[in-house]
């Protein structure tokens, strides 16, 4: 009560630091591993963890995301983002692209452009957004708009790690562009506690890819 203002501020700072420290100490981790039906690792799988306690669903400001276009391909092929993120689509090719999507989660069309002329696109609904280029039919990319801020994408080894998650109960699920079945069918309930990483493994049935060939014969009429 009678403490000087400076002491109050100092004490408040110590308290906040302790809270932050406590939160960091309570951070949990999840390691995921995804294999296909032949036992081979599956890259580009999105692993997301939805906290069952709403208090754990941190509402951090969604980061800015970039999906590049290089050598007439989307880079990255699969990009997970947090709902509410804005995505820029710079064109690093020296030909123009017309990026579009028909997906219910986000319909948009960026008229033919070069360089960084295209404005960022807001993704405000969770779901999967399939990207295409109206000029180069073989270009395809996926944006996974996650309703939870806790997600990661598997690397070529088929593994992904989610770190610094608040301790608690979660629904963890995976999604891949070529997975057989639904994302919900992969859902698992786990309890994460600080200092004890949880390891989860999935085996997906991955469908064959039939991406539109970039070269389909000299006489093919598809391009232009």
């Amino acid at each position: 009560m009678g403490l000087p203002l400076l002491v109050k501020v100092f004490a408040a700072g110590i308290g906040m630091a302790m809270m932050i420290g406590a939160e960091t100490a309570a951070a949990a981790a999840l390691n995921a591993s995804v294999m296909d039906q032949h036992g081979k690792p599956v890259a580009d799988t999105v692993v997301s963890a939805t906290p069952l306690d709403p208090k754990n669903a941190l509402r951090a400001k969604p980061p800015a995301v970039v999906i590049d276009q290089v050598d007439k391909q989307f880079v990255a092929y699969v990009t997970p983002i947090y709902v509410g993120s804005r995505v820029r689509f710079p064109n690093n090719d020296n030909v123009r692209h017309q990026v579009y999507s028909f997906s219910p989660a986000k319909r948009f069309d960026l008229p033919l452009y070069a360089g960084t002329d295209a404005p960022p696109v807001l993704f405000d609904k969770p779901g999967v957004v399939v990207l295409g280029c109206n000029i180069h039919d073989w270009m395809i990319g996926y944006i996974y708009v996650s309703e939870t801020p806790f997600f990661a994408k598997t690397v070529s080894a088929g593994t992904a790690s989610l770190e610094d998650l608040p301790s608690g109960d979660y629904l963890v699920k995976i999604w891949h562009p070529r997975m057989n079945g639904t994302e919900e069918a992969t859902s698992r309930r786990v309890t994460l506690t600080a200092g004890t990483p949880v390891n989860l493994e999935w085996q997906l049935t991955v469908k064959p890819t039939f991406r539109i060939p970039r070269v389909s014969g000299a006489a093919s009429p598809g391009y232009p």
Binding site: Q98, P208, A219, S220, P224
Partner: protein, 311 residues
């Protein structure tokens, strides 16, 4: 897509050897252009190149066994075009191509071709899975070692198609083509010597079916009606129905090119594999069956290996 019958039908062999053949010229020009490709590829142009090795078991479109000559051909092409969007649904493409063919035995048939093309395409909607239609015109000059066959080729095409899903791609094309060659001296008084000029109409149907991410099958059927050139030694059966006759030293001093009217039915099957996204290697087989005036019918079978590269 099926290749044009007349391209094989109106080629010839020159008995003389010129120092700078059409094929050599093509090679030099192609090498020059290829040297410029890195710079061109960075512009808003799209470049493509392809090469082909094929065997035509009846180059001269002959009906009689004794007249049939087969040969192996190496062909190469370099194409460049630019796309201009016109409104939301239309696009205009302007381009050109340089191509050449080199024959293993019939050196006079070696040729080089330089041409330009203009096409307007309409897509009914955005994306890869919408119907489209295209109308195109092209003009090309083809220069053979056998000068008799030099021609200017005018071509108009109307094509339409749709990629149904990830596996199936379908399209069809109607083509009207006129090859204007110099008239040759009459070898028979009263019968035209303009045997190498041809007019034809062609209808093709094509399908591609993806087996997996890198491999797809190609199917095509063809119906062609118009002029055909059949090279043979003189015989009454073909002579009486020919609309033009010219000497054809390409196949021998006693051979003549006869212009007939014929209907061709054909099909083509192939399998294509993409070792990298830019490359496509193909193996194909084409069979053409032509029924011409006076019962002068002939067939040809053309197996081929192809390589395409798209920048």
């Amino acid at each position: 897509m099926l290749t044009a019958t007349p391209a094989a039908a109106d080629i010839g062999l020159s008995p003389r050897r010129i120092p700078l053949s059409a094929a050599t010229l093509t090679a030099v020009l192609s090498a020059t252009l290829l040297a410029c490709l890195p710079d061109l590829a960075r512009s808003d142009w799209t470049l493509g190149t392809d090469a082909l090795l094929r065997h035509d078991n009846n180059v001269g479109n002959a009906g009689n066994y004794d007249d049939i000559v087969g040969d192996t051909i190496v062909a190469a092409r370099l194409s460049i075009f630019q796309l201009f969007p016109v409104g939301e649904d239309y696009s205009l493409s302007v381009g050109g191509e340089l191509s050449g063919e080199s024959y293993d035995r019939l050196k006079g048939l070696n040729n080089a071709s330089l041409g330009g093309a203009l096409a307007v395409k309409r897509k009914w909607g955005l994306g890869a899975y919408v119907p489209w239609a295209r109308i195109g015109v092209s003009l090309a000059r083809t220069d053979y070692n056998d000068d008799n066959r030099n021609a200017t080729v005018y071509r108009t095409t109307l094509s339409a198609g749709e990629r149904l899903d990830d596996r199936w791609n379908l399209w069809g094309e109607y083509a009207y083509e006129r090859r204007a060659a110099s008239s040759q001296p009459e070898v028979v008084p009263g019968i035209s010597g303009d045997a190498y000029s041809q007019t034809s109409q062609k209808l093709t149907g094509n399908a591609e079916y993806a087996l997996n991410e890198r491999t797809f099958l190609a199917f095509g059927v063809l119906l062609r009606y118009g002029d055909v050139v059949s090279t043979a030694e003189p015989s009454l059966g073909i002579f009486t129905v020919s609309r033009a006759v010219a000497a054809d030293p390409a196949f021998g001093p006693d051979d003549y090119a006869y212009k007939l009217t014929g209907t061709t039915l054909g099909f083509k099957v192939g399998i294509n594999y993409s070792p990298t996204p830019h490359n496509l290697v193909g193996f194909g087989f084409e069979r053409l069956d032509t029924h011409a005036d006076g019962g002068n019918s002939y067939t040809k079978s053309i197996p081929e290996i192809s390589w395409d590269y798209r920048f």
